[in-house]
């Protein structure tokens, strides 16, 4: 579980349109209040209220239309203030950003001092904010929203910290409504339900919400990186001078990105947007989101990034060399030469059953049963086997947790020295030890040149009484991965049938005999 610091600016849509927290103000979308300032809230204004009702409660309410463009642009100032302390700031949405707290906390002398430092930096930049540190994004956001500008939740304390919160913080009104009617009103009570039953009754989304309520990672990251590069890129020749032109291209690129991700059954929780300017300057931002961003949302983020860049121009109308540029409001400084979208932190797309299960389609029934087993035993508890290449019987099968992607790039070499068919029926994960002796009772040895000291006559497994070997074959030497000392393996294999009618695959490695598999 990663330690995360979240910076949260209260009532950001209101701040973005220039209303101070002390004046009663509200931002409206389609005649309803989308956000309001603290003073307005004190007067009884609430979200989703009709403007007319809000004005009745607070007659001197300042009303502005919501401006998402300004929200994104203005938040760049906050991000820059945080980025001056620690790089790799992830923007969750305008008004909230997150950083990985571990390294930075060590550098700045503890999580509490890091929290205060970040908070001071943002306040100096001119914005009110709360900062919180906790395990994972969800708990850190709530920690940032606590009284007195946030708090630090100690490692492992997320579950206890979250317990008293109402279910509405999960952002799932239908689930919260249903649970409230079942008599469950806090995250703590929800977390205490048996996870198998929650997964069975509320499906994958309910199980995810419960993991959040327990202070656990909402979904584990897929191990390893994607084998293919899914980033998309567009060049502008001549450089694009208008922001609209770039945003339009971003929308098309986002469509391509979705196609690439969809083909692999993936979704990304973080998107890196890189904008390259004609003068060689590159502007990069990470955008974080749970689930896939729509093409429109991606285009919108590119627009925010560009408009922030415009507002950062040292003197409007000239570039760094002092050359005059067109005074057009839409002009992008120096022109955009290229735009690249890179999906970051890929996770399997749990929303699409067809893609999740690879080639075989799956019924809800199987997926639900797998969900229940994973709720009982953890993510790695239930696996699907995938045949891979390899010589030994244990190497030919990889077990992939249900829901994870099947690893790509499976080598399909000819595998000389592979154990011939039929394959053994029983392949223990760890080989058992064995003692192999010749007719005189002396241990059988295999020399470096693969000659036997004497034919094997008796074998005993794990210290049990020995049995006679009726027929045998070998040695079949393998010398694998000699270039990699950690994984190299040099052994000689034997097949043997004992007089009780059983057959074994034996191996000798470094003078020790092992039972690799049983042909039971």
């Amino acid at each position: 579980m990663s330690r995360t610091l979240v910076v949260w600016c209260p009532d950001w849509p209101v701040t973005a349109v220039g209303i101070e927290a002390t004046t009663a103000g509200a931002v409206v979308v389609q005649g309803r209040v989308a956000a309001c300032s603290a003073a307005a809230r004190a007067a009884g204004v609430r979200r989703r209220q009709r403007v007319r009702d809000a004005q009745r409660r607070c007659p001197d309410l300042v009303v502005r239309e919501r401006d998402t463009d300004a929200e994104g642009r203005l938040f760049e100032t906050v991000v820059d203030a945080v980025a001056a302390l620690t790089p790799k700031v992830e923007i969750v949405r305008p008004g909230m950003c997150a950083i990985a707290a571990r390294g930075a906390a060590r550098f700045y002398g503890g999580e509490e001092s890091l929290r205060l430092m970040v908070q001071d930096a943002v306040v100096e930049a001119g914005f009110d904010c709360g900062a919180g540190v906790a395990d994972g994004l969800f708990a850190a956001e709530l920690a940032a929203r606590t009284e007195e500008g946030g708090t630090v939740v100690p490692p492992g304390g997320a579950a206890g910290f979250l317990a008293p919160y109402p279910l509405s913080v999960l952002g799932r009104p239908e689930l919260a409504d249903l649970l409230a009617r079942l008599g469950i009103r806090t995250l703590g009570a929800f977390a205490a339900l048996p996870s198998g039953h929650v997964a069975g009754r509320f499906g994958a989304d309910g199980a995810l919400a419960q993991r959040l309520a327990r202070g656990e990672e909402p979904r584990p990251l897929a191990p390893g990186h994607a084998a293919v590069d899914l980033s998309v890129r567009d060049e502008f020749d001549p450089p694009a001078a208008q922001a609209d032109q770039v945003v339009f291209a971003a929308k098309r690129l986002a469509g391509e990105l979705h196609e690439g991700l969809g083909a692999g059954g993936l979704t990304c929780v973080r998107l890196a947007v890189e904008v390259g300017f004609a003068d060689g300057h590159v502007l990069e931002r990470l955008w974080r989101h749970d689930g896939l961003l729509s093409t429109l949302a991606i285009a919108e983020r590119v627009r925010w990034q560009l408009s922030a860049w415009r507002s950062e121009r040292p003197t409007p109308g000239t570039d760094a060399d002092g050359i005059e540029l067109p005074g057009d409001e839409q002009a992008v400084w120096g022109g955009v030469a290229w735009l690249e979208l890179t999906p970051d932190q890929l996770v399997p797309d749990e929303g699409r059953q067809q893609a999740l299960w690879g080639q075989s389609s799956v019924t809800d029934r199987i997926a639900r049963a797998a969900d229940r087993v994973q709720a009982l035993l953890g993510h790695r508890g239930i696996t699907r086997p995938v045949l891979t290449g390899g010589r030994g019987p244990g190497e030919q099968v990889t077990k992939v947790p249900v829901g994870d992607l099947v690893p790509g790039g499976i080598p399909d070499g000819p595998w000389p020295g592979r154990i011939p068919a039929p394959a053994p029926a029983s392949v223990p994960a760890a080989s058992l030890s064995a003692e192999v002796t010749d007719a005189s009772g002396a241990p059988v040895m295999v020399s470096a040149r693969c000659t036997l000291s004497a034919p094997p006559a008796r074998v005993s497994f794990d210290g049990r009484p020995s049995v006679a070997v009726t027929s045998w074959t070998g040695p079949w030497p393998v010398d694998e991965r000699w270039w990699d000392p950690a994984r190299s393996q040099r052994r000689a294999r034997f097949q043997a049938v004992t007089d009780d009618g059983r057959a074994f695959l034996l191996a000798v490695e470094g003078g020790r005999w092992l039972v690799e598999a049983t042909y039971d």
């Binding site: 029934r365 053994p424 392949v427 223990p428």
Partner: protein, 255 residues
């Protein structure tokens, strides 16, 4: 020599399959098994418990999983199987018998939660193969047997006795073929499978099969043609048939 015999056995197997075609159509309500096992168990009754014991129980479990995986499911195009508590389950061998790895679920270490895991899976998959880590308690036996009956699935238990088992399968005679004294390779096992229990018509039905055959498949085997199948260990003068064994590579035998 062995090639010819193997080809003959496969041919006999194929014709047996054709003649069985009519029979399988009338038994669609049974959970299917591999064709070679049908002389001893025509199919598994939905909701029944099958017990496996003794030497060869691992291969029998693989064969049952392969049968359901290949011929099971609602439309007979392939069913789902789950294997619980058997980390050593030989997936490669099951695939050799005809199982589809994409329709297999493995729960390697259920530990104490195995009754809950089996209960969750038996609602969804056609066959659950389980080796309980401990002697199953009365409550677990009653609950899981009832769930299997209710959902019409087959519960296959190995490693422990299970009260109320309808069919017990075991291998009572077996012989591995192909190994000599320092030469050859394992080519297959001829095994006699015996079915017992109240779910079996006529006590002690048995059949001879290759478990597994040289390709890894389960094929029926007729002891009548056994004479020319054992060249390796029956050399009258003790000369070694090294050439013959080394010449053959897996996969070519029936090609």
């Amino acid at each position: 020599m062995a090639d010819a015999a193997w080809a003959r056995a496969t041919l006999a197997n194929a014709t047996a399959l054709e003649t069985l075609g009519l029979e399988t159509a009338s038994r669609l309500d049974l959970v299917p098994v591999l064709p070679a096992l049908r002389p001893v168990v025509p199919g598994l009754r939905p909701g029944s418990v099958v017990g496996l014991a003794g030497t060869g129980s691992a291969s029998l479990g693989l064969a049952l999983v392969a049968g359901v995986s290949q011929h099971g499911g609602e439309s007979g195009t392939g069913g789902w199987c789950a294997v619980v508590g058997m980390p050593e389950f030989g997936v490669a061998a099951a695939v050799g018998m005809g199982a589809e790895p994409g329709r297999l679920l493995l729960v390697d270490e259920p530990d104490g939660r195995w009754p809950d895991v089996v209960a969750a899976l038996i609602e969804a998959v056609d066959l659950v193969l389980v080796r309980p880590p401990e002697r199953p308690g009365t409550a677990a036996v009653r609950r899981l047997s009832a769930l299997a009956r209710k959902h019409g699935r087959v519960l296959t238990v190995t490693g422990h006795d299970w009260p109320g088992t309808a069919i017990r399968l075991r291998v009572d005679q077996a012989e591995w073929i192909g190994l000599g004294d320092g030469h050859g390779r394992l080519r297959g096992r001829r095994a006699r499978i015996v079915a017992e229990g109240r779910g079996v018509p006529g006590a002690g039905r048995h059949t001879w099969v290759w478990l597994p055959g040289p390709n890894g498949e389960v094929a029926s085997y007729e002891p009548a043609v056994a004479g020319d199948l054992r060249p390796v260990e029956r050399q009258p003068d003790g000369t070694r048939t090294v050439l013959e064994v080394v010449r053959e590579t897996p996969g070519e035998d029936v090609a």
